[in-house]
């Protein structure tokens, strides 16, 4: 990366606000993967995460005038993302409950082979599932720091905490995640025997 990231972001924001709408693409390209990864931690599918991430960028564009140059664009952007996924997840959950209450089966992935399912849960989705079980005071720091790749300082700013508090919560979260993942470890490493 060339130059200071924060300075680059500031320059781009100034360009966009002065009428160069296309300059906004730089920010979408730069932060898009991280915003999708962050949204994925709260959404039920890649498509939902992608849609939510696009909404975040559109909403951020609408609010761009409220961004103060010299501050972290990433922290500002992910504060919007956090509020968006929280609202969207709540609406999604509400719709899902209504659908289930109506006796309509919600579309889900077809049941997988049990052994494959265990492996998938530990490899692809295991981490997200484990993170989703964390209490909010640990879950948000994990999502900001690990999934959105904010620094400790940026995470602290978004959450309104001190940096030491963020570090403490990350430490507790690492312990909890390791314990949660190890408790789900099958007793045997064997894939089983055909009988």
């Amino acid at each position: 990366m060339i130059g200071d990231s924060r300075t680059d972001d500031d320059e781009v924001v100034k360009k966009v606000l002065s009428g160069d709408r296309e300059a906004y693409r730089f920010l979408v390209d730069k932060y898009g993967p991280r915003v999708i990864s962050f949204c994925r931690s709260r959404m039920h599918s890649e498509d939902d995460a992608k849609d939510a991430a696009q909404d975040v960028f559109i909403r951020a564009y609408s609010s761009l005038a409220s961004f103060r140059t010299g501050e972290s664009f990433a922290a500002w952007l992910f504060a919007i993302a956090a509020n968006h996924v929280r609202t969207r997840f709540r609406i999604f959950s509400s719709e899902r409950r209504k659908t289930e209450a109506a006796g309509v089966e919600v579309a889900t992935a077809p049941p997988a082979d049990p052994v494959e399912d265990v492996e998938r849960s530990f490899r692809a989705d295991g981490l997200r599932r484990a993170v989703s079980t964390l209490p909010p005071d640990m879950r948000w720091p994990v999502e900001f720091y690990y999934f959105a790749e904010l620094s400790v300082a940026e995470t602290a700013r978004v959450l309104g905490l001190g940096e030491e508090a963020v570090k403490t919560r990350l430490f507790r979260a690492r312990k909890s995640l390791r314990r949660a993942l190890e408790e789900k470890q099958p007793k045997s490493s064997s894939r089983g025997m055909d009988i």
């Binding site: 992608k50 609010s63 005038a65």
Partner: protein, 201 residues
């Protein structure tokens, strides 16, 4: 050659925020690739370790899904003369709010030269809850709760805002309905099929 007990030491050290010298991250990853037990036990933690070691930053960034940026740019481009701060048309409308708002749903109290207290009012007799969400609170749909101030269903909240800026906001009624301020005529498309009310201070 790394052993299983070495991987546990490696994870122990990571857990407390340190990195052990018993092996390198690459050796750890190679061991996971060849040991199903350790892979199942610790594999899910690998992305977190890579993040702590700044390996994620040095790796090739994940590509955006095809069309992702194009869709975003198309969405903001379809909104006409966006950039409400700089569009003369919108700026004029926003300036009008300052005047019109005084007599309708928004009231101002000067605190000092930079901050004013703004009172947001909404007439919603059927609502069970009303929140104020805007760029001033990062669009939190459950952050600024309005209080029912009159039996006839008038809701209100007072918040301090900085002068010299343009704000966009919605009322969130009963948790799911995002509406514009009916007392304010100037709006911007919020990109979600709705609109946001404009407030210039």
């Amino acid at each position: 050659m790394m052993k299983c007990e070495d991987t546990r030491s490696f994870v122990d050290a990571w857990e407390v925020g340190e990195m052990t010298t018993t092996c390198t991250p690459e050796e750890f990853r190679m061991h996971l690739a060849s040991c199903p037990d350790c892979s199942r036990r610790f594999g899910a933690l690998l992305p977190l370790m890579e993040r702590d070691l700044d390996l994620a930053a040095s790796a090739s960034p994940s590509p955006l899904p095809a069309g992702f940026a194009d869709d975003v740019m198309a969405a903001i481009g379809s909104r006409g003369r966006q950039g409400f701060v700089f569009s003369p048309l919108i700026a004029a409308a926003a300036a009008a709010i300052f005047v019109v708002g005084l007599g309708l749903g928004i009231f101002f109290t000067k605190l000092n030269s930079d901050i004013v207290t703004v009172s947001f009012l909404l007439d919603a007799p059927q609502a069970k809850s009303v929140y104020l969400a805007g760029d001033f609170n990062a669009w939190s749909g459950d952050g600024y709760a309005l209080s029912r101030v009159r039996p006839d269903g008038k809701w209100e909240i007072k918040i301090p805002l900085k002068k010299g800026k343009v704000y966009v906001y919605n009322f969130v009624v009963d948790g799911t309905k995002w509406i514009v301020d009916p007392s304010v005529p100037a709006k911007v498309d919020d990109g979600f099929g709705g609109s946001g009310s404009l407030l210039r201070l």
